[in-house]
Subunit: 257 residues, 2 copies
DNA sequence: CCCAATTTGTTCGTATGTATC
DNA sequence: AGATACATACGAACAAATTGG
């Protein structure tokens, strides 16, 4: 029984798409995982009774989705492949290329998720993990002396958040936190917001993260949530200020996307 | 050639992949949006100096990502296409096919996002929008008399959440709420949790949503957040109960994914 | 209703590249 | 180095779909 395979718009599929779907559901039904080798091109040609070109296009479709990978040579072929986080991020990023997210949009999500992450980790981190977080923090324990140093501290600060996300057992939460950080970075780069690094932003981050680690170590979920919530609010506010400053300086009339 | 030029993972791209990337960045640089027609196959063959098959595979790659759509006939061709939400959902779903989310994982996200959505909408909805929400609620204002009715009420209840998400101006929030609901539905279907519809779950939903609409109308963001937070906790709890019951009944020894 | 033009969709035969033994 | 097995690429032809006369 196909439970929810409804197509509102009949959308006749091309043959390569049909083949791709067939292979996909075939792999799922058999429960095949990464590394399993699919039949060779010539075998698929026989099995589906279609030409080489059609089969090859079908495999390209699966490859574009990150579901398979093909290798040439003896012992080569098409293999089931675990969709990488990079691929998933890129594919989802395509969707938002057309949706035009604002800084407010992204921070609304980060504001909800990051404190939740901190609260869920409180008391459940090993001393090794806490030490790893502290290690990253040493990269920006003292005020930056140059623009170069400031930039390095910024990167390290982002690594802190990425590392924290990595410690969550929730793959969805991990992905979303990294995705939102990624989208934010993309926007700041495209708008050149990084051109005006804000010393207050990264230096205040140090203080927040110091208190966060303490709360995590003590297992104080409420405090951890509150600290990260404040941190997000502050970062959001500072980023909007940068945006305003930049807009006033360079874009007095026109709007840039 | 010195053998020292080792490629750790330079990931040599196949020609169709190169062409796909070239077309993609070409479209972005020119700022072309949905509806713009790309050069025809034959033109692309000339331009890139490659065979028809290679060019077609490149277009399939873009099509699989939802970035273009092709039509046959005069006036046909390959057109830039806005990635649909359905496509984005499916592509991201592929990623989590390998990551094995639990009900807890998904509810951790819903628990964070749904209350945030409610709070952000409080006081900003038009009377027409509020009326639309109330209209959906009339579908399950009285207790279900049959399993069929109960199922319909369940669907209507999900529509309520989808409609609420649709009213957010934040495209990322909209997408995430619908995505998480979708993943949850997929899991419940694959585990047949729907086989045991829980009357308490959907009837209690009615009360929550009634109070939610009142809070939204009054512009009480704090109350709206709290109501949806409680609703999520309750739904999460009930769903875990169903899972436990089902596991005890049908899966005494083995684990099902 | 059919016909013609246009564009993508599909097939087949052949040749080339690449990794393994 | 050579043989083998596999994907990759090319070119010419034909089929199908859509539009307009």
């Amino acid at each position: 029984m196909s439970p929810a395979t409804i197509r509102s718009t009949p959308e006749r599929l091309s043959r390569p798409q049909q083949v791709a779907e067939a292979i996909k559901s075939w792999v799922m039904e058999n429960g095949w995982g990464p590394g399993v080798r699919l039949p060779s091109e010539s075998e698929l040609i026989e099995r589906f009774g279609m030409s080489k070109g059609t089969i090859r296009e079908a495999i390209r479709i699966l490859e574009a989705q990150g579901l398979v990978k093909s290798r040439t040579g003896p012992g080569g072929g098409v293999f089931v492949h675990q969709v990488s986080e990079e691929r998933a991020t890129a594919l989802l990023g395509n969707y938002f290329y057309f949706e035009h997210l604002t800084i407010d949009d992204i921070y609304q999500i980060r504001q909800a998720l990051e404190p939740e992450l901190a609260a869920s980790l409180a008391g459940s981190l090993s001393e090794a993990q806490l030490a790893a977080l502290e290690e990253v923090m040493t990269r920006y324990c003292e005020p930056a002396r140059s623009a170069e140093e400031e930039r390095e501290q910024h990167v390290a600060s982002l690594r802190f958040h990425a590392l924290l996300a990595e410690m969550s057992g929730n793959a969805l939460l991990r992905f979303l936190i990294r995705f939102t950080a990624n989208m934010l970075a993309e926007i700041t780069v495209s708008r050149r917001l990084y051109a005006q690094p804000n010393r207050d932003l990264w230096s205040s981050g140090f203080d927040y993260q110091l208190r966060l680690i303490a709360a995590l170590r003590e297992g104080d979920a409420v405090a951890a949530r509150e600290i990260l919530s404040e941190h997000m609010k502050n970062a959001h506010r500072l980023m909007l200020m940068q945006e305003t400053v930049l807009t006033q300086r360079f874009l007095p009339e026109n709007e840039i996307i």
